[in-house]
Amino acid sequence: MLELLSGFIVELRNAGLPVSLTENLDAMTAISHIPLEDREAFKYALGATLVKNHAHWRSFETVFEVYFSLRGPEYNIIDGDGEGSIDDFLRQMQDAQMKGEGNGGAGGMDQLTPEELMNILMNALMNGDQAMMRALARQAVQRFAGMEPGRPVGGTYYLYRTLRNLDLDGMSEKLMQASREQVGGELTKLEERLERDEYNHRIEQFKQEVEAEIRRRLVADRGAEAMAKTLRKPLPEDVEFMHASRDEMQNLKKALQPLTRKLATKLARKRRHGRKGPLDFRNTVRHSLAYGGVPAEPKFKYPRPSKPELIVVADISGSVAAFARFTLMLVYALSNQFSKVRAFVFIDGIDEVTDYFKKTEDVSEAIARINTEADVIWVDGHSDYGHAFEVFWEKWGKEINPKSNVILLGDARNNYHASQAWVVKEMKQKARKVFWLNPEPRSYWNTGDSIVGEYGTHTDGVFECRNLRQLEAFVEKLA
């Protein structure tokens, strides 16, 4: 047990979770109070002692599934005291599978035709029958995934194969149809919406069952360590903007909201608790009256730093669009920490988009409008920093004043156009600060057509901003 648990904790650390030694010890003590056969309680005991940040919970769950998936009650292969290494699990798991295939572990489902299987699945989804859904998930994986031991393919491949055969999207429609018939007539809009949500929820549950089943089988095939490695995903704050998948983007979005709240509180606090200023003579004298005219309690003026003004100029061409979107979202979510925010976007033409944000409270809606409406294409829709900067300077250059901070976002991949770096130089002379944020790893800078160095010499700093963590650190510094 100890061995398994320490392997588990090493894997958590590998996944990026900060697990300290005391937490490790706590976990050990905690599980000694928990009946081991209760898998949920076991999981919560580990979770409560090891994971101290809700954003990390998903990573924890994945690792937990990998390490302890074979111990679930539905498998019934491990005796209560939990002695034994992974090899043991493996052997027993295979035995269990063998038996399962022999006498029909998932009921008599082996003999069913695919059509019958689909019907059963539909019924199970209709009635929300959990046990049936789990059995079906097992059956579906066994039948459709075509898993072969030792094949070096990731779990997503098997998942895709299984789900393709099940046609779950069509299932949702069919379910809706069925419930319409059940009431005998049309559902109201509200009812329809609610029914649909309910079915989608159940289908999502079923998908998770399938995923879990595949994972269980893969672990049995390859061992927990190898499996954990392939499943290892960066934490939301470490996901790189430039290579985020759609799922990761969703998670990033979710992580962004609490982050902005935290940042806003932090910034407001920082501003209020600035250093003490010079002696406030009037106030000191006033307070001295309480001590019979002795200035016993000196009072100081608190400096009230003005909120900075922000001008964001972002490249929104394909390669860096996600990064620009995130930065704009973050900046606008924090807009009350700045006295004024103006936003410009460009590819090879440049357009001001400040108004999009003004008209709506919903930042994501504004971002969506930028993608469709902003006029950013001049010739061919390939990034041309030089031209964009030139036009910016012509049209809006006058409006940069000593209070404004200019933030330039982009990878500075200029497609070998003229750089027009003098614009940045001029900006720096007029503005309070000019920063450049680059979403590329530092080692890629100034390779190929990237000329970030050329622009960078004229700015107050070029920052690598590959993930939320770095972006957060930058914004905090700025305000």
Binding site: L190, K262, K266
Partner: protein
């Protein structure tokens, strides 16, 4: 000291008896906190019953609830203890010429002149207590350090008196709305519990137990609609307490089944931003 709870199930049933429906995570962590003698850090969106959890545990175990509401600028004289200096002055003046210096000195730093604040009160109490440190994320990082000694050792060091150790280990709950990252030192000393919006079934149960005179049918509908609304991308998702308010309103209005029109008219109880209300109304009627 004997543990308060025998099993996770007991915690669960006990909480249910005082009208708090806990899920596995909540009951499990409460059970562990008792066994390990560790505080629980409860985190989660506003209005999901974090504070209520502490209250319910207190009610269930028959313990006294001592509450420390945190705010910016909280310091040790408000949280831990303070010397009652007015009384000390009186004491000195009362017998100015009789006692020797050392006698007076020992005397004015005695128990009599100590004002107990919530934290000290919790650990010196004789009867069982539950200590609730509410919204701990509101204090500054430096103030957090105040809590560390009491959370890990259950003791308070007062320079003039020495160290006061707890007579019994209280159950401690810290709640946080996550407006800032708490320090590692604090997190390390606690068990972590994230209370999220409940699953639909549990929310329905909660509505059924907390709202008087609601029909099962209506509770089911309420829970389903709230779940659908939470899936939208809103500024502020409806919390459990808002769900309950909404259910109560519907009951008062004498509504048995909600149709889209009624839902739309009462949405402002569930959602607090105009843009959210507009969005939800649109989503619920046109789909």
């Amino acid at each position: 000291m004997a543990p308060r709870f025998d099993s996770v199930q007991q915690v669960r049933d006990g909480l249910k008896a005082v009208n708090y429906l806990a899920d596995d995570g909540i009951a499990g962590v409460a059970f562990l906190a008792d066994r390990l003698g560790k505080p629980i850090l409860v985190e989660g969106p506003a209005g999901t019953g974090k504070t209520q959890l502490a209250k319910s545990i207190a009610e269930m175990t028959g313990a006294r609830l001592i509450r420390l509401q945190c705010y910016e600028g909280l310091d040790e004289s408000k949280a831990l203890y303070e010397w009652n200096y007015k009384k000390q002055l009186l004491r000195i003046q009362a017998d100015r010429n009789s006692d020797s210096w050392s006698e007076v000195h020992d005397d004015i730093f005695g128990d009599e002149f100590l004002l107990r604040r919530p934290l000290l009160e919790a650990i010196t109490a004789d009867e069982p207590v539950v200590l609730l440190i509410d919204e701990v994320d509101r204090v500054e990082v430096e103030t957090e350090a105040l809590l560390l000694e009491i959370l890990s050792e259950y003791q308070v060091s007062i320079p003039e008196l020495g160290t006061i150790t707890a007579k019994q280990i209280p159950l401690v709950f810290l709640t946080s709305n996550n407006t800032r990252e708490l320090s590692e030192a604090l997190k390390r000393r606690c068990l972590f519990l994230h209370v999220d919006y409940p699953q639909m079934d549990r929310e329905k149960e909660i509505v059924l137990t907390k709202v008087e005179g609601i029909t099962e049918m209506l509770a089911d509908q309420v829970a389903r609609i709230v779940r659908s609304i939470r899936q939208l991308d809103l500024k502020k998702s409806p919390s459990v307490s808002e769900t309950l308010d909404w259910a109560r309103t519907l009951v008062l209005l004498g509504i048995d089944t909600i149709d889209a029109e009624q839902a739309k008219e009462t949405l402002h109880i569930l959602l607090k931003y105009q843009s959210d209300i507009a969005k939800a109304a649109k989503e619920l009627s046109v789909d």
